[in-house]
Amino acid sequence: MLLFLLIVTAFAIAYTKDLFAVVMLAGIYGLLSASFFVALDAVDVAFTEAAVGAGISPLLMLATLGLTGRFQTQTKSRFYLLGFALVVLVGALLMIGTADMPAFGSVDAPAQQHVAPRYIEKSYEEIAIPNVVTSVLASYRGFDTLGEVAVIFTAGLGVLSLLSISRKEEEKEGGVASMYEHTILRIVSKILIPAMLIFALYVQFHGEYGPGGGFQAGVIFAAAIILYSILFGLDVAKRVVNESVLQILAALGLLLYGSVGVVTMLSGKNFLDYNALAEDPGTGQHIGIIVIELGVGITVAAVMILIFFAFSRRMDREGGA
């Protein structure tokens, strides 16, 4: 059912010319796929996809549209036919691939046999936290996650280097439109923003027990700040969270994660082996996971806010000109 909706949405996106509607539909697509992830037991993934696919990325797209215009011209790409051929080719290859796949959901598929069972059977013993996804994410494959933080960090830097303007120029710019005069929104969000922030921190520190963790928490935290800056104006928001502080925070989060690895290395174990952090392996793992999740959270929140600021500053500039 959900899948069917997904297909419909995807086709609608392909055929809609109003880019604004496309972005709306993309948001729906994000929500849909997230619901689908819940239905397939991937709660952590659903959590993330909801925050990213339905939250952050449509917002960024809208900001882009605000700058680049809403309607797509009628012309198709030069590579229209070629593209179509390519698509068919890829589709064919995929279909060939499915022919020998194990059936969906089957218990004895190879993917369920080799590595995965150990995580489920042993992780509680070895890491002592119930959320297996967090165990795998933060400990068994902790290095992947370090890489993931670096990816976000890279993107933040990239966006900054693309959209930043030198300090001199920045000072010249004038006031910024805000929605402050919007009484209802102002009051309601004054109540909501602190609640969102605390919720974000709750998600941050309970990733070991339920769905959630550093990345999701970072996104929610950033979302609250973004809401604030939408309503009260970029300038006000920047006074609250200074940009250069954010840059440093983004770097520090990554460093915090890395330093856990360095510490474990210095105490004689392998990189990111949290057992080095305490006598008892369970405690060590737990400390390690809390610290690295904190690193993830800090970097993600800082980078997301930075990216959003960079986008919306461009808009303000455009609007003022």
């Binding site: 009484t183 009051i187 602190p194 609640a195 922030l197 604030y228 609250v240």
Partner: protein
């Protein structure tokens, strides 16, 4: 100060209700988080009577009880009209006066209007509210002013 304390309490409550873990580690993390958020909120300048409406707390429940009743009634009404089709509705718009003195009161009023199906507050000014209603009757009900009075009563006696 009063507002800070009340925000602190509310935030702690949210944390505890969500968390469900009462070990030392979690409680101390929770305390840290709450302090952090209060601090950020301070920087954001959102700690005041609008974000932490202590003075309203006692009166809200009875108001909400009344609102619930209204909600149910208007829901039934709108549902009926949906099934009856286009002919049964008569969309109308009106500017209504309001008597609240604080922004908070106005917001509660406007949101109550919106919350009851069939009427939506479109614009809120200092002494009027623009309302769109599914039926002419919806406007009349509001004009009778009961909701307005009740909300105003909420904000009295600070």
């Amino acid at each position: 100060m009063r507002h800070t304390v009340s925000m602190f309490v509310v935030l702690s409550l949210i944390w505890l209700l969500n968390s469900g873990f009462f070990t030392g580690l979690h409680l101390s993390l929770g305390l840290l988080s709450v302090v952090l958020v209060v601090w950020v909120a301070y920087r954001m300048d959102v700690v005041d009577h609008e974000s932490a409406p202590v003075h309203l707390t006692l009166r809200l429940p009875s108001y909400y009880a009344w609102l619930m009743k209204e909600l149910v009634l208007s829901n039934i009404d709108v549902t009926k009209r949906i099934w009856l089709g286009k002919k049964s509705i008569s969309p109308s718009m009106a500017v209504l006066p309001l008597s609240q003195r604080t922004d908070m009161g106005r917001v509660i009023y406007a949101n109550s209007i919106t919350l009851t199906p069939g009427t939506v507050a479109i614009d809120l000014n200092s002494d009027t509210v623009v309302v769109h209603s599914l039926t002419a009757g919806g406007i009349e009900d509001l004009r009778s002013g009961e909701m307005d009075r009740r909300v105003s009563r909420l904000e009295k006696q600070k």
